[in-house]
């Protein structure tokens, strides 16, 4: 938004007040612009440049241009495609699940019932933990004889108690559970604020018109919060694509077992820092950026109209 303000001020035939408004706009925008430039634009520019070189973290050899070698390398590597697939699966599950769960929780804690404030807090608290801290807490809970399985054994009479983190068929499920737990509260708060903005009289009008609870939800609530729902879905998609902390910390080895939780971020960190191939790692970063950019643009096509 800031650039638009600046534009307006500058283009409208420079009366003193307009010019001073433009200056004020620039002044307000500058901290954000400077920080974004310093920590986002510049590093990304550097990465883009490095992705065309054979730069290593520690190497006696001089850095040289290698053209598209890094890209053909990465794109020819089945590890990258496996990671991308994991990312897509994770996002495809987490985006609807987390948005839906956030909506459900928001509706529940929006009820005028005793204790709803307490539950709001409980659902929001995990947001204040870092993802790594959350992962470590869940390492304990997900232990084959940990709390989750103790509960599972009771409710399924012992039929279901998998070794969550060592059995490749369950690790992604475990990662999804942790991710939902750790971040659903954020989406919930956004949707809760949206719910509270839906005029009460619309619910009353719908009730008088003959709508039961479900019809009111469908015809008043959902249309009333559709912009925020879309925002939450988009944000969830982007954030879920950055899946890293959980799959780095929880499995026996990062992205494991058997690459079941390998993701592009894991590939990137592994290639760039563990193996020191900065040039190749940079090309993964650029590809990652392009994929997320594409998905975001694609998703915007579904943005609800006014």
């Amino acid at each position: 938004m800031q650039p638009a303000t600046v534009d307006n001020g500058a283009s409208s035939s420079g009366s003193p007040s307009n010019r001073s408004r433009a200056r004020a706009g620039l002044a307000f925008a500058s901290p954000a612009v400077v920080l974004l430039t310093l920590f986002m634009v510049v590093p990304f520019g550097l990465a883009a440049v490095l992705s065309f070189t054979n730069r290593k973290l520690l190497s006696p050899l001089p850095t040289r241009w290698v053209g598209l070698d890094n890209y053909t390398d990465v794109l020819g590597d089945s590890g990258f495609w496996g990671a991308l697939q994991n990312n897509l699966v994770f996002s495809a599950i987490v985006m609807p699940l987390q948005t839906g769960l956030a909506l459900l929780l928001a509706v529940l804690v929006n009820q005028k019932l005793k204790g709803s404030v307490l539950f709001r807090t409980i659902y929001f608290v995990p947001i204040t933990f870092s993802l790594s801290a959350a992962s470590i807490i869940w390492l304990v809970l997900l232990n084959p004889s940990g709390m989750l399985n103790t509960v599972m054994e009771v409710v399924t009479f012992g039929a279901f108690a998998p070794d969550w983190l060592n059995d490749p068929s369950y690790t992604m499920a475990a990662v999804i559970i942790v991710s939902l737990w750790a971040s659903v509260g954020f989406q919930m708060v956004i949707l809760l604020a949206a719910l509270q903005d839906v005029p009460k009289s619309l619910y009353e009008a719908a009730a008088v018109d003959g709508a039961g609870a479900w019809k009111r939800f469908r015809n008043v609530t959902v249309p009333g919060i559709r912009h925020q729902l879309f925002f939450v879905a988009t944000i969830t998609m982007i954030l879920s694509f950055r899946l890293f902390d959980q799959v780095w910390i929880m499995p026996p080895r990062p992205g494991g077992p058997l690459d079941a939780t390998n993701t592009i971020m894991v590939e990137l960190v592994d290639t760039g820092f563990e193996r020191g191939q900065i040039g190749k790692g940079s090309s993964i970063a650029v590809l990652f950026f392009l994929i997320v950019l594409f998905l975001t643009i694609f998703q915007r096509k579904f943005e609800p109209a006014d």
Partner: protein, 389 residues
């Protein structure tokens, strides 16, 4: 179509506030009943209890023969028009009007026919595809009406539906709503704080104050024979002028008299014959009221024998067909209990009289005012109830 019966209805809000006290109302089938009173008196609360949007704390509510205390709003077969219209912002006018029909699974063709008919009656045919945000205030109001009339419900409930319109549109819609209701014959409860709306629209008007029902009657009866000081002052515009004074009884060929500060108004014997109850107040203070239209410039009065009072004119408002003359007298004014009315209590009362426009009276002159003393209303000073009999 149905009757609506409120039987000792009470409302106590969760915070302990007792908003409605023992409200009894019998609303006849096809009747247009207006619920009127100053803001905060509980009109919306009462209406919302009929709609089922507010829980009933005590008493019994019936629509037709059915007790509806525990019936959900969606099952009460009532349509409501809200003060802010409450149109669904994402739906077109067509869908807004048809929403209830869609919920009721009315066949598409039948729904379409009814929506278009409602749109025709309300002159919304051009706007059917638009969203509420693209409509003027008056058009939104019509959509809200349309949403109610397509339903053919047992009753219409309307909560100050015209209060967001400008004065001219309000007058026009007032007539249209009343006409539409008569045509459709659907029982209607209409809430307003505007007594002019109440008087012009209602078959009967129920006056509410602080959650207590004051009087239910036809507009003319409310005006001619108000039950108490509050109704007397609330109905009519400008308000009835109220004073405290001492009554001296007449009889045996003798006229009575009434004090207005240092002046006296003679009261014809006939008044005491018609209202024998006044005998009990001989020589005692009571409250009395004179409507502005029962006064006239003495120089123009049709009956020169009418008693005159005098006062200095502070303001003359010309309304074309009449003029409103404000003048001061040294009598004790009375607070009617209407929180929306401004009464400056003290030793001087400002009297408002409605004169013929031919009156030459000007501000700062002393007016000689003829009073039609047969039409004075009397009230008990402690119970504030009217003395008609």
């Amino acid at each position: 179509m149905a009757t609506i019966t409120l039987d000792k209805i009470n409302k106590v809000y969760a915070n302990g506030y007792h908003a409605i006290h023992d409200l009894d109302l019998d609303i006849a089938d096809t009747e247009f009943l207006v619920l009127v009173g100053p803001s905060g008196c509980g009109k919306s609360t009462a209406l919302r209890m009929i709609a089922g949007l507010e829980e009933i704390s005590g008493g019994e509510m019936r629509i037709g023969d059915r007790v509806v205390n525990e019936v959900e709003p969606k099952d009460r077969d009532i349509a409501m028009v809200f003060q802010n219209y409450a149109l669904y912002p994402h739906m077109s006018v067509y869908d807004n009007i048809g929403f209830a029909l869609k919920l009721a699974k009315t066949p598409k063709a039948e729904a379409d026919r009814r929506i278009r008919e409602a749109a025709r009656v309300l002159e919304l045919e051009e706007q059917l595809k638009r969203k509420p945000a693209q409509l003027s205030g008056g058009q939104r109001q019509r959509v809200a009406m349309g949403r109610a009339i397509v339903r053919q419900p047992a009753a219409f409930l309307m909560d100050e539906p015209l209060s967001n319109l400008d004065a001219k549109l309000r007058v026009q819609m007032r007539a249209e709503i009343a006409g539409l209701q008569r045509e459709l014959g659907v029982t209607t409860v209409y809430v307003t704080h505007d007594q002019v709306e109440a008087m012009t629209m209602g078959d009967r008007v129920a006056v509410l104050k602080d959650g207590h029902l004051q009087q239910v009657d036809t507009p003319q009866n409310l005006y001619d024979r108000p039950d108490n000081v509050f109704v007397a002052a609330f109905i009519g515009s400008p308000s009835m002028n109220l004073f405290e004074g001492v009554l001296t009884l007449g009889g045996g060929g003798q006229e009575g008299s009434l004090t207005l500060g240092s002046q006296t108004i003679s009261i014809p014997e006939k008044v005491f014959e018609e209202r024998p109850g006044l005998a009990a107040y001989d020589g005692k203070p009571l409250i009395y009221g004179i409507r502005p239209e029962d006064m006239e410039d003495a120089s123009l009065a049709s009956q020169p024998a009418e008693p005159h009072i005098h006062g200095e004119v502070s303001l003359v408002e010309s309304l074309g067909a009449e003029i409103l003359v404000h003048f001061g007298v040294d009598a004790v004014p009375v607070d009617s209990g209407d929180p929306d009315a401004v009464v400056e209590l003290g030793d001087t009362a400002v009297v408002v009289a409605r004169f013929s426009p031919r009156s030459p009276i000007r501000p700062r002159q002393t007016a000689a005012v003829a009073v039609n003393s047969e039409r004075i209303s009397f009230f008990d000073p402690s119970t504030r109830l009217a003395i008609w009999d």
